[in-house]
Point group: C2
């Protein structure tokens, strides 16, 4: 038997993995970056074959990893996590440093970065596993904590874990919702649910410039669920 | 330039990765277990070639992953993290469940487990990267939080991060230590430092059955530093 809840207990960080050069770069939000050897220091980055970034990494043979912190702007997740670089230039307007290899490194909300040169590429099915040797790394801000995937799921989406003081009993919530005709609205970009009962405010009453707290999508990108 | 401090910002969990069968099994503490594809669900586990467990995984083609929680007993880290199964049977006295493939799964301090069948093995230098397809997974305790490598390093070793209220200014600490002849003792197994100044107790005054809070080694395994 496979219990998919068990998969949530595996710990990950959250990163912007970038590739390309000064003329054209692209990046995506990844939770699977991890060291595979110490001597020499090598890191694996897992990338869906359909990701636009996969082409950049394969072509250039380099990638950078920007480590995100806990209060990373939703715009960063929106830009790099829920939109494709096929449609627009993700690097435009970002604070970029170019590494020793020329790879773009996103500095926005980054507390550290790694720069790697691909030495091996493994096909693991739907994804490619790029093994990169570390050529440069730097701490940019040691006062902020790295964000974990768990934190992003549990805290940033506003759903606290069962044992936390902020836990909301869903059965109670649904009862309230039914009783007072509260509705739920889903972000079509990232799946975030705006729950009127929990927020204590009608979705329609939110200001026009309100954006999805997860991916930065606009109000009109939400549908009632 | 490579700043090795930057590498600490990459997030990991901590797991017991086991292999073998009912007659003989072995396991080790790993921080590099991660999902590489969703369809089908496949996980990578990274294992040093010199690890006794590497032979077990290669021979049996199966491995289990026990997800450890924040208050995991130091004995578990001592047994699976700092000792080799070449010298003794790590499974002896442990609570073991045998998976669908017959692989031993350690239940002590586990909040969830995965059972995987190796479908690919990649040589990444000093380590092997085993790609395993998920055959079984289960949540054993959803009230406890998974331990992260950061938590293990920072909290379990008693050194709080710079911005935490419990942070100890090292320069002040050394001053106190010099002033009152406090000493430091290092665990030769795991490197843990017992700091008399910080603990407020002489190492010599600790009871004879005191063990290293990290790996469970005995007092006599400590040396003055």
């Amino acid at each position: 038997m496979i219990d998919f809840e068990a998969l949530y207990s595996i710990s990950y960080g959250l990163y912007i993995v970038c590739s390309g050069d000064k003329t054209k770069g692209n990046g995506f939000i990844s939770n699977t970056v991890f060291q595979v050897t110490a001597e020499p220091a090598r890191f694996a980055a897992c990338c869906n074959k359909d990701n636009y970034s996969a082409q950049f990494i394969q072509k250039s043979g380099i990638f950078s990893v920007s480590v995100l912190h806990k209060d990373t702007s939703p715009d960063i997740f929106g830009r790099f996590g829920y939109k494709s670089g096929k449609d627009f230039d993700k690097m435009e307007g970002m604070q970029i440093r170019y590494g020793e290899t020329g790879v773009p490194i996103v500095l926005n909300d980054a507390i550290a970065f790694l720069e790697c040169k691909v030495v091996q590429t493994f096909d693991v099915g739907t994804h490619l596993l790029f093994i990169g040797e570390l050529v440069q790394s730097e701490v940019l801000n040691d006062a902020l904590e790295p964000i974990t995937y768990l934190y992003y799921r549990q805290i940033k989406k506003g759903v606290a874990p069962k044992n936390a003081p902020t836990y909301v009993d869903k059965s109670k919530l649904e009862k309230t919702a039914t009783g007072s005709a509260f509705k739920k609205f889903k972000c079509t970009a990232c799946g975030y649910i705006y729950d009127e009962a929990k927020e204590g405010k009608k979705f329609a009453d939110l200001p026009d410039d309100w954006v999805c707290p997860i991916c930065g999508s606009e109000k009109e990108d939400f549908i009632e669920v």
